[in-house]
């Protein structure tokens, strides 16, 4: 089974071969490294940029203006903040030109904590990204979705932000990517660059096939009746674990992997919350003006009379950074036991 880094690599390869992706670029994205998480190893059209995030985003915008397809990377999302006005412009160009200039471009960037990355390798961007109208924003929780979402992003005529949960880059999924060899050792031998000298190394790509996860479509990863847990990315996996563990205590938890942050799958949330009457939203971005607060607002507005308990948000603490020491990181981003407590407390609430 591919890990997420390999899945992204295979999607980019598919994109080069079939979807006319001509440029894949960013800091250390090209040879010899192929990306700090190896997600761009061995690709034909990958190249290294100067250490200049504004240059990277604006280059992508210019390429997109010509109609050609590119995927650019910001090495860690922690370093995207100096491009925020360019992200605004990329998001408003179509609107300002009244449809004249679509910008079909993909920006990908590793996000989130979970690797003891300290202050500048732990930032989240989902809440920030949800405030960039004109952008679509996706965030996979497993390799197959990463593959399918990236292929959808490449084909989308709009700018798409592809957020990669960095703690999941080495995590394998449960499903094969169409065309992926069954034996993960074989896959590794085919597409992972060797340690050491790679000057003459070339990948042998498996014949991967087109597979799209439509942007805006969530997925129910655990079916349940009592309470709905909505998440994405790294915390989706924690939510699945919580659902499984609480099942043994007799709780019935439905888990939704949103997969797309904007546009999001409201119909899926609605159907589930109408059934359960209880909902907890989980993500690791900071809690004040968190994207989940918008979802709570909508739940309250549209599903108020179906609710049996107050909707909850479990999110990162409103602190300026994530400290290196585990005590600091663990107190700053949601932990499994906090999600479980939130579930227990909403289920215990009686209207």
């Amino acid at each position: 089974m591919a890990n997420m880094a390999q899945a992204i690599r295979m999607a980019l390869h598919y994109g080069e071969k079939n979807l006319a992706v001509k440029d894949i670029f960013g800091q250390d994205v090209g040879a010899p490294l192929g990306g700090v998480f190896t997600a761009t190893q061995g690709l034909e059209n990958s190249w290294n940029t100067p250490l200049d995030e504004r240059g990277i985003i604006s280059m992508a915008m210019g390429i997109a203006m010509t109609g050609e397809r590119c995927v650019a990377e910001i090495q860690f999302v922690d370093y995207i903040f100096n491009t925020i006005d360019l992200l605004k412009i990329a998001g408003n160009t179509l609107w300002c030109t009244n449809g004249g200039f679509p910008l079909p471009m993909v920006i990908m960037s590793p996000v989130g904590a979970g690797i003891r990355g300290s202050v500048y390798h732990s930032h989240s961007f989902d809440a920030w990204a949800s405030r960039l109208p004109g952008w679509k924003v996706v965030m996979p929780s497993n390799p197959l979705d990463a593959y399918g979402l990236l292929l959808s992003a490449i084909q989308d005529p709009n700018p798409v932000l592809f957020l990669k949960p960095k703690a999941l880059m080495r995590v394998r999924g449960d499903d094969l990517i169409p065309g992926e060899p069954e034996d993960e050792k074989e896959l590794k031998a085919m597409i992972d660059a060797p340690i050491g000298d790679r000057t003459s190394w070339k990948p042998r790509w498996p014949k991967v096939e087109g597979y799209m996860v439509p942007i805006g479509q969530g997925k129910i990863t655990r079916a349940g009746e009592q309470v709905t847990l909505v998440s994405y990315g790294r915390h989706l996996l924690l939510c699945n674990q919580v659902a499984d563990e609480l099942k043994e205590e007799g709780y019935s938890v439905e888990v939704i992997d949103l997969r797309s942050i904007y546009p999001y799958d409201w119909q899926m949330i609605k159907t589930s919350v109408e059934k359960t009457g209880r909902v907890v939203f989980v993500n690791e971005d900071t809690e004040v003006t968190n994207f989940a607060e918008h979802l709570v607002y909508r739940v309250v507005q549209e599903l108020f009379y179906s609710l049996l308990a107050r909707p909850l948000v479990v999110a990162g603490k409103n602190v300026p950074g994530i400290g290196l020491h585990p005590n600091l990181e663990d107190a700053s981003v949601p932990q499994k036991h906090e999600i479980a407590e939130a579930v227990r407390s909403v289920v215990a609430e009686v209207p």
């Binding site: 700090v36 202050v119 950074g321 290196l324 005590n327 600091l328 107190a331």
Partner: protein
């Protein structure tokens, strides 16, 4: 040399990796006591960095980044800084390869070890940030930030205030070669050189020819980074930062020029990267780059300015100091969970919305 201290191998002068860069004559340009002091501090800084790497490799730290290989550049800075707090003294805005400068300024080894082992006793960040992310307000050492190059813009502000104070203090900024692609670097050149409003700052770049895995050659159209400063009429040169004597003399001249004229100067120092970028690339010794410490030491030995036994003792002393500091730090307290709310605001005024 320094690689395996403490132990016998540590004190033996090893072969230099490349042909020696310094002529023996240059040793006459500085007093013997200063040469020996620089050597002493270079050894101390190297032994500290090697201790940090050991701590990382032993699993007692999550990440290492630092400056082994840049001692011949960093130590002469630390020795010539006007050290103190406030605009009357020099401000230093450095990147994450600042250990040699701080060691030369008098930072005890243990404080660097507290930082990499994220103890609450870490004076720079209280256990919040990575190794080499120093911050010493009492010495005007501005916090090292992970985001590359922001220090080049921030440095303008401290220099601006120093100019207003007509102070002797100047602002010094350091960073890597790849980082010069960021707009902040251009801001620094533009803002510091405005006619009639020049700023008293020493703008420097440690050019190790790498940005992680990306080599200098594929990313730069300019021949020397210093050429960019020349375009703004800034006094600029490229030097061999592997030679502590050349570094010392260039810094001395340029710092005096800035203190006298109030105008900026620029130094591009060519340096080596001896243990790769960081622990993310293994933090292993690379043998194909020139080791400035080894090179300088060989000169001192050949010229009879230092004896092998004394060199050996030096390595052993600092290896021991690093080792002992690590043992002490192991027993020191770690930050508590509740402390995430400390210092969000001045005086740790309540930052948690649940409490107001």
């Amino acid at each position: 040399m320094a690689k395996k201290a403490p132990g016998k191998a540590a004190a033996k002068p090893l072969k230099t990796a490349k042909a020696s860069s310094q002529s023996l004559n240059s040793l006459t340009k500085l007093p013997k006591a200063l040469l020996l002091q620089m050597h002493d501090l270079m050894v101390k800084s190297r032994m500290l960095e090697e201790r940090l790497i050991k701590i990382y490799k032993a699993g007692d730290a999550y990440f290492w980044i630092g400056a082994p290989g840049e001692e011949a550049w960093g130590v002469p800075i630390g020795l010539q800084v006007l050290k103190g707090r406030g605009p009357e003294y020099d401000y230093l805005h450095m990147h994450y390869r600042a250990t040699p400068t701080l060691v030369a300024m008098g930072m005890p080894m243990i404080d660097s070890i507290r930082l990499i082992m994220n103890r609450s006793t870490d004076p720079s960040t209280g256990g919040r940030n990575f190794s080499n992310h120093y911050s010493f307000p009492e010495w005007n050492v501005a916090p090292v930030t992970s985001p590359i190059e922001v220090q080049y813009g921030i440095a303008l502000g401290t220099a601006h205030v120093q100019k207003r104070h007509k102070s002797k203090g100047i602002t010094l900024v350091t960073g890597g070669d790849a980082g010069t692609a960021e707009g902040d670097f251009a801001s620094c050149l533009i803002w510091s050189s405005r006619k009639g409003r020049e700023l008293p700052m020493l703008i420097t770049v440690q050019n190790n020819k790498w940005g992680i895995s990306t080599s200098f050659d594929g990313q730069h159209g300019e021949t020397n980074i210093a050429d960019r400063a020349r375009a703004f009429n800034i006094k600029a040169r490229s030097i061999n930062g592997n030679d502590p004597i050349e570094s010392y003399l260039t810094l001395q001249e340029d710092m005096a020029y800035i203190r006298k004229t109030g105008k900026p100067a620029f130094i591009e120092a060519h340096v080596s990267r001896l243990y790769g970028h960081s622990s993310a690339s293994g933090a292993n010794f690379v043998s194909n780059e020139l080791c400035c410490l080894n090179d300088f030491e060989t000169k001192l030995l050949k010229a009879g300015l230092i004896k092998e036994a004394a060199v050996k003792e030096l390595y052993e002393k600092y290896a021991q100091e690093g080792f002992e500091a690590q043992q002490i730090v192991k027993g020191e307290p770690v930050p508590t969970s509740e402390s995430i709310w400390d210092n969000v605001y001045v005086g740790s005024e309540n930052a948690d919305w649940r409490k107001f």
